[in-house]
Symmetry: C2
Subunit: 450 residues, 2 copies
């Protein structure tokens, strides 16, 4: 909360404590819904109970529509209200936000609340709730404005005026034909700049981009971003418009998806915040323990070379240098490959792989030469320098290639490549790096020492 | 490009080859600006030269406004056009897009093109170009609608109708007082649902959220997202409205910032794509070589313990297990800390640190016990198991804490904490892990073996 809001919070608390309804309303209703929702989240049970008498359900709907809180958390407040209050609150809210809450609460509660809705809205909610998570249907709202293509600009404008209070976005007005198919789109700008007696069909744009109700939200977000839309219509199999997705929901999708990518790269869910360290630890341990087993495999591999190590103990000095550097290179190429796969659908995979092979060779050779010189000078032993340098170059090359091949392979298998994490690739490259290092060392030493 | 667009591309190419202006226009002008821009990017020099005769500058402005191409690339096309054509093209484009292009081209070209603009627009561009990168001023546009608070709804509506063609977004109409200060905001919805003779001052919302022209774009993006705005007004020091930022530019900011965070975590710029592997390698090498020096420090540390290693060569087996796992834990806590710092401005730092200490202990102890058992059973040596397990627990604890302290410290120093990368934290934790491991091993061995 900002400082201004904290001050308001104190004033509102005073108003609540004094049961000063008038003062509370004056302060609270002057705010934006998002600010109201931030303040609302700070009040305790007794204070909320008072608020339900101070504010009408219509006024509270604004708070519920604009909140950035978890929908499941908002659902809990419903239990504190009377049935009549809940019924009016939910009717006033935008349908997509109601559905968000319903998706996150227990089925028995959901059934009860749907029962409190007017029957037509209850039907719409039941339909919306059915759509699979992360599809157009699950994030669309049914409050949009549509007009018939045979209407005049004037009658269309009258219709828009009537509907304007209900609709979530009035930037676009959708046009349907006799069969209720979506055939065009108009902006309010078009209506106010054309003369009253023109026909909608002559004013509308006929190339209207719509998405299927089952389309994935990430693909839709990309379209809205590329085309700079403020809303995009959603159609069903028979090309009837069934809803719209507004840009504020698209921003949430973009946020969600990029947070997902970031979390995957780090090998941990960075978004769900828990104040309990046991729960935090529980979120991080699965990946750590899984990778621990992969790490044990690397340990057994080194164990296999214990004879060599006890003969030439100096080799141990460079294990972490090689595994670490190769892991870093692998993480880099993994991140690049994941992002390219996500942002460029018509990418030539062969080209990407060839490019990474060439890049891996260049990075490997340059780093290898650096290491050759550093180790050779430091240990006054250029044979050792050659061993470590060659191993470094090869390990980087392999890790670099693995970093791009793994996400590409996952994409081909239909798995989201963003799931491959930095920790995974660096632990995997520990294994390959050690394998490369000791084999090269053994080979060189046989050559020169025996 | 989608399949549909590729087909269109062929048809348009045919039209160009046949110099069929009419056909080209019919096909091209039916498309959305973003699609036009994708197709435009596919044409070669000779084809583009023809297009400049087939399309008016006003029509091409649409293409330039809606492109997702690099502004510097778009700037190159200007050189191919006549001065008169450039002048009209730039005048038609939205000011923020013109400024984007001008920021990315050579100063001498910029000066020439600014000279081609009508003098009032040239002045505006000169002013906009001055704003620092990543501030409100650098992403705002000056095409917005403002009305006087003493106007009636009817005259305001007339004004909106006149301006509607020019303005980028007409969802909001901004209201100013006699001193030209921003005092309120109206939506088109307000205008069309209120009666004509009401005064703007009585219809407008007076709590209007505006951002300062020098405010950072990331903070603005957060506001627009939280408040679900379609545009946000920008004011100067004297509270006069100087521009608006539209939601499509906000989406670009969100994309840019999240790509930046992702790149930082991976220790590589994942967005700038180059087809030249030498350039790609050049982007990745600086971090790799920097971290190589940090890795060499770890190597000298192990070197310091060579005596111990040659005595107890089995210790070498677990170096990569400990450094790898601690590095993974460090990467996790780093990512969590960076995200929390980015999304929660009023975070209690002490609380976050305490939480990470507790989490580090839990993760460390659990992983340490696992390793103690695994190593003890495998090597039939529970003393070794205890050494490796204790070292693992301590190394994880330290890496975990470093992972959150480093970004917090950077934030305190005024550096963007997102700059701390996963490769950096895991290379750093290699050093601390090795230090911990060998000290614990030495201590235990002195205790039991001597």
């Amino acid at each position: 909360m900002t400082e201004g809001l904290e001050q308001l919070n104190n004033q509102l608390t005073t108003a609540l404590n004094k049961r000063n309804r008038k003062n509370f309303r004056k302060l609270f209703l002057g705010l934006h819904g998002y600010e109201q929702s931030q303040l609302f989240a700070e009040f305790d049970f007794a204070q909320r109970k008072l608020i339900y008498t101070f504010l009408s359900p219509e006024e509270l709907a604004n708070v519920f529509d604009d909140t950035e809180e978890d929908p499941g958390e908002m659902g809990k407040y419903l239990d504190e209200m009377s049935d009549a209050y809940v019924s009016r609150l939910l009717s006033e809210m935008y349908m997509d936000n109601v559905v968000d809450i319903f998706t996150d609460i227990r089925p028995i509660k959901r059934k009860k609340y749907i029962g409190l809705l007017p029957s037509d809205e209850a039907d719409q909610v039941r339909e919306l709730i059915h759509y699979e998570d992360e599809t157009a249907g699950s994030i669309m709202t049914t409050e949009f404005i549509k007009v018939d293509k045979n209407q005049t600009v004037d009658t269309a404008m009258q219709h828009v005026k009537q509907e304007a209070q209900e609709a979530e976005v009035i930037a676009y007005i959708y046009v349907t034909d006799e069969a209720n198919k979506l055939v065009g789109v108009l902006s309010v700008r078009d209506l106010i700049t054309h003369s009253d007696d023109e026909k909608v069909a002559d004013v509308m744009a006929t190339r209207v981009l719509a998405v299927d109700v089952n389309e994935d939200q990430e693909a839709i977000a990309e379209q809205v971003r590329d085309y700079n839309f403020v809303a995009i219509p959603v159609v069903d199999a028979s090309e009837e418009i069934v809803g719209i997705i507004t840009v504020d929901d698209i921003i949430d999708v973009i946020d969600e998806e990029s947070a997902e990518d970031y979390s995957h790269l780090a090998g941990v869910d960075t978004e769900t915040i828990s104040r309990n360290p046991f729960q935090t630890a529980l979120k991080r341990l699965p990946w750590l323990i899984t990778l621990l087993f992969l790490g044990m495999l690397t340990a057994t591999l080194i164990n296999h070379f214990e004879g060599l190590l006890s003969q030439v103990s100096v080799l141990a000095i460079f294990i972490s240098l090689i595994t670490g550097t190769a892991g870093n290179a692998g993480t880099q190429s993994l991140a690049v490959a994941v992002r390219r796969l996500a942002t460029n659908n018509h990418l030539k995979i062969a080209r990407l792989i060839l490019n990474e092979i060439a890049t891996g060779i260049i990075i490997g050779v340059i780093t290898g030469v650096c290491v050759f010189i550093m180790v050779g000078v430091w240990k006054q032993n250029f044979l050792l320098g050659a061993v470590v340098g060659t191993a470094m170059a090869s390990a980087i090359f392999v890790a670099n290639l693995a970093g791009s091949l793994i996400p590409i392979g996952m994409e081909k298998l239909g798995v989201d490549p963003a799931v491959a994490s930095g920790p995974f690739i660096s632990t995997l490259s520990d294994l390959t790096s050690v394998l490369i290092y000791f084999n090269i060392a053994q080979y060189f030493l046989q050559l020169f020492i025996k």
